[in-house]
């Protein structure tokens, strides 16, 4: 089964390109034919003369990024984008969600959907669609939301996963919180699941784990692509009886999104080291998983600086409802977790630490809340690696910050005129705020 990727805006296009790069390298590296064939079918369309063409649609309202991506990948010679699978315009959306959603999106709907349709028709069997974008700017967020809406209408029965890059807390786009609030509130109605990477977190990973001195957007995007790739590459699910999972997006959702009120997913992985120190590093499954578990419960996105003091709460006897006072400070409650193990000796890894009911919300049995995929094929040069996709309270704080800052700005009505100009009213803003406050409230009550 295949995944069609839709890359939107500068960020979506840059991250998307890195993702295909990681996947093509990973599939090429390994000697395991079944794995690499499965991966290829998933992400690439093989032409008659054995060229790999990414199953991807590139959309931007501005030409520079897309033309650069196409040129770069053509030069690499390993894979390329389809000749007719990109669409760009001359003038960007100007960081304005309303401009993207109300003007550019509808204006180019037909052309864009035609390209997507063509790409879908190239697939023998469609597993789902992944739309990649940032929430800060105008094109990724605004056009991205509009396109997601069109995808939902056109493919009502397909899985739609949105991969979102959240901006740095300070200093990318001043109206980023408005754009984020509008994007998230709309996507929450449209998307099946929303997988989030925060630039701030990834930046820290680059600085502290990878030891990169002058961190560029490329470095940040590579880490995101590595984590995404390790989720989406083939793996064996619990009930797949030795056959690689067929529909990673569908299975991701059935493992993690059991309730439409909770669809924010985050990823963390271990190990993550600089390429120069990889050769000198030895990892054992117990060590990796012990760290990963603590990263989960103490809500830290990387191995360094984990708070080891945080413990899972003791379980209350049946019938007594768990209340706020019983919760441990700093403890991150999960709704559901998916653990993916890749590499040597995966079958010996002991994963019971992730299955304990105390990690999860009481209304979902722990055996339904936890799933695991694994494969003995190492990923992207790591002999062993573990990835945790989590539907938990991890994103609660950044979401709450985002909404709080946007609300503060909204209270003084700053910048609103830029949105009303394109047809987004104050009421639309209020609706978006209301729906996100609802999400915040739901997650904080897990």
């Amino acid at each position: 089964m295949s995944i069609v990727t839709v890359q939107l805006g500068q960020c979506g296009n840059q991250v998307g390109q890195e993702l295909f790069e990681v996947i093509s390298n990973d599939a090429n590296d390994t000697q395991r034919k079944v794995y690499s064939e499965c991966s290829s079918e998933r992400f690439f369309n093989e032409t008659a003369n054995r060229e790999l063409v990414a199953r991807s649609v590139l959309i931007d309202m501005e030409p520079k990024v897309i033309s650069q991506s196409i040129a770069k990948t053509a030069k690499s010679g390993k894979w390329r984008y389809g000749d007719r699978s990109h669409f760009s315009q001359k003038q960007g959306s100007g960081n304005n969600w309303a401009n993207g959603y109300c003007v550019h999106g509808p204006r180019h709907e037909e052309v864009v959907m035609d390209i997507v349709r063509r790409e879908v028709e190239h697939c023998d069997c469609l597993a789902g669609i992944m739309a990649m974008m940032s929430v800060a700017g105008g094109t990724g967020s605004g056009v991205g939301t509009y396109v997601t809406q069109c995808l939902r209408d056109e493919y009502p029965n397909s899985f739609i996963l949105n991969h979102l890059t959240w901006p740095y807390g300070t200093g990318e786009v001043i109206v980023q919180n408005y754009n984020s609030v509008l994007t998230l509130s709309h996507l929450y109605q449209l998307s099946d699941a929303i997988l989030v990477h925060e630039n701030d977190t990834v930046h820290k990973i680059c600085a502290q784990l990878m030891n990169i001195k002058h961190i560029s957007f490329r470095d940040v995007n590579k880490v995101i692509a590595h984590q995404l790739g390790s989720v989406l590459q083939p793996a064996l699910t619990g009930d797949s009886h030795g056959v690689y999972n067929r529909n990673p997006i569908g299975e991701l959702m059935s493992s993690l999104v059991c309730h439409p009120e909770y669809k924010l997913l985050s990823v963390c992985n271990i190990p993550q080291v600089s390429s120069s120190s990889m050769a000198y590093s030895m990892f054992t499954w117990p060590g990796l998983l012990k760290h990963l578990r603590q990263m989960l419960i103490a809500n830290s996105k990387m191995e360094e600086g984990i708070d080891w003091q945080v413990r899972a709460p003791s379980l209350q006897p049946e019938g007594i409802e768990r209340t706020r006072s019983h919760r441990r400070p700093g403890f991150n409650t999960s709704l559901a977790n998916l653990l993916i193990l890749r590499g040597k000796d995966v079958n010996n890894a002991e994963i019971s630490g992730f299955q304990h009911p105390s990690l999860y919300t009481p209304w979902l049995p722990a055996d339904e809340a936890f799933s695991m995929w694994k494969t003995p094929v190492p990923f992207n040069k790591y002999e062993k690696s573990a990835i945790l996709v989590s539907n938990s309270q991890t994103l609660l704080r950044p979401l709450d910050n985002m909404v709080g800052k946007a609300w503060n700005m909204f209270a003084s009505r700053a910048y609103i005129h830029q949105y009303t100009k394109f047809g987004i009213s104050e009421e639309d803003f209020l609706d978006s705020f209301t729906s996100l406050e609802q999400v915040i409230s739901s997650y904080s009550q897990l």
């Binding site: 960007g92 800052k405 909204f410 700053a414």
Partner: protein, 475 residues
């Protein structure tokens, strides 16, 4: 790729414009060695085959450069400056049809420029603007360059601004306005400036105010530095922001150094729209991010580094120094102190070999020292363009929407009131058709209410503003 059209009005506007075109050519020839008419070049220049008389346009990018024409409309009500351009090395850039001139000048009278010439040349100006617009494949922005103190730039310039709004409501209007010094030799400059201010406040998307005095100070400072000859402070040739070396114009004229600064401002503001980078910043993002309320669209520019030292020893520190300087008083292009006023929003447009981590480090470092309005504590907009300006390894343009513009406006108002109280020179204005005494009052009250809006924001400074109460969700 989008295109922009430069409209230069009056003596000052045309002199600055002239420097802009020279430096723009220098920049593109530096980046584009092959002589191919590329996308970047197309944003300010047309490529015309002069051998073909009609329809001789070969604007399609990718071909060889034939003959470059500036996307510009030159307007002056005297002939002197424009004629000089036509006799100078840049003459090839302009067709005679791009020029609109008269012989008698506006006599430093806003009303003559705005009303008399405004109505006489209206059709011709609109025709020229339309023609320039038709040559564009996707017109994004008009850059209007003018001065505030005289008659033509200030009067006719703001009339052109209104025409732009009427004819091209969708196209962004960024105005570079040169404000007179307090010791201006034009007696009526306070009238002209205040009358022009009202038009700018109502019809521009963004105004980049530039003060003559600040330009003089910067030029003097650079000249002083380059003559002091301290060891380790040898300034690299060509690298000063006031230098026009490498351009096609030979000998420097008196105001060239000052005008080069403004020309560099325009080059840097458009760099990210012309060249590639890891974080693009398009021209329509400027107003979107920096203008929270429609009237408060005055963006104080500062440029760093003003020059590059020949001795390259401690690049990281120098890079950080560049960020620090952008917020210091003596790098602002108006006399203002942003650090001690209130920021509504701030853009950092970086060029050259600078990474996102350099940006983050410097924002974190500078943030505690800079007061931001309570609802925009993280009001930073950033752009990274990979092509540095000629002669530099990196550069920074900061645009601050900051209440520090207020003193300049208040000073202007004081000087206006002094004249107005005595009704001095007023009859010159009232003679002009279309001009009434009410215009003075309206302009004054528009300026006063603008000042008041800045004061109200200023009043929130240093006060702890509580967060707005969030919506409650019933559970």
């Amino acid at each position: 790729m989008t295109q922009s059209v430069v409209v230069q009005v009056g003596q000052c506007g045309n002199q600055v414009g002239c420097r802009f075109w020279d430096l723009a050519l220098r920049e593109h020839s530096h980046v584009n060695k092959k002589g191919i008419y590329d996308e970047a070049l197309s944003s300010f220049f047309r490529n015309v085959d002069s051998r073909r008389s009609v329809g001789g346009s070969c604007d399609i990018t990718g071909g060889r450069i034939q003959s470059l024409k500036a996307r510009a409309v030159l307007v002056d009500m005297e002939e002197g400056v424009v004629n000089k351009i036509l006799q100078g090395p840049l003459r090839e850039l302009f067709d005679s049809t791009q020029l609109i001139t008269d012989v008698s000048g506006s006599g430093n009278n806003w009303a003559v420029g705005h009303w008399t010439y405004g109505s006489a040349y209206r059709e011709q100006i609109v025709d020229q603007l339309r023609r320039a617009a038709e040559h564009c494949d996707c017109l994004q922005c008009f850059f209007l360059i003018h001065s505030m103190g005289g008659g033509t730039g200030s009067g006719l310039g703001t009339c052109v601004l209104k025409l732009l709004e009427e004819e091209f409501p969708e196209v962004c209007r960024i105005v570079t306005s040169v404000y007179p010094s307090a010791e201006d030799d034009v007696v009526t400059s306070p009238y002209n400036s205040v009358l022009a201010m009202r038009e700018l406040t109502e019809h521009a998307d963004c105004v980049l105010p530039v003060e003559n005095q600040s330009l003089v100070d910067i030029v003097n400072k650079i000249k002083h530095m380059s003559h002091s000859g301290k060891p380790g402070s040898v300034i690299k040739k060509d690298s000063a922001i006031i230098s026009g070396q490498g351009g096609v114009s030979g000998a420097e004229k008196p105001f060239d150094a000052m005008n080069n600064i403004v020309a560099n401002l325009l080059l840097n503001i458009t760099s990210s729209a012309r060249f590639e980078g890891s974080l693009n910043m398009d021209l329509n993002e400027i107003a979107m991010n920096l203008v929270p309320f429609p009237r408060l669209h005055y963006l104080v520019p500062s440029l760093t580094p003003l020059y590059t030292l020949a001795d390259v020893n401690i690049p990281t520190r120098r890079l950080d120094q560049m960020f620090t300087d952008a917020f210091s008083k003596d790098h602002q292009l108006i006399r203002a102190d942003p650090k001690h006023s209130l920021y509504l929003a701030c853009a950092l447009m970086v060029r050259g070999n600078v990474q996102v981590s350099d940006l983050r480090r410097n924002i974190e470092r500078l943030k505690p020292m800079l007061p931001f309005v309570s609802w925009n504590q993280e009001g930073w907009k950033t752009g990274l363009c990979s092509v540095p300006p000629v002669g530099h390894s990196h550069s920074l343009l900061a645009l601050a929407n900051n209440t520090c513009v207020k003193p300049t406006f208040m000073e202007l108002r004081d000087r206006f009131t002094k004249l107005y109280r005595k009704k001095a020179h007023m009859h010159h204005y009232l003679h002009v058709d279309g001009m009434e005494q009410g215009c003075f009052m309206e302009a004054l009250s528009s300026l006063s209410s603008l000042i008041e809006e800045y004061s109200q924001l200023d009043a929130t400074k240093d006060r702890l503003m509580p967060d707005a109460a969030r919506l409650n969700i019933a559970t």
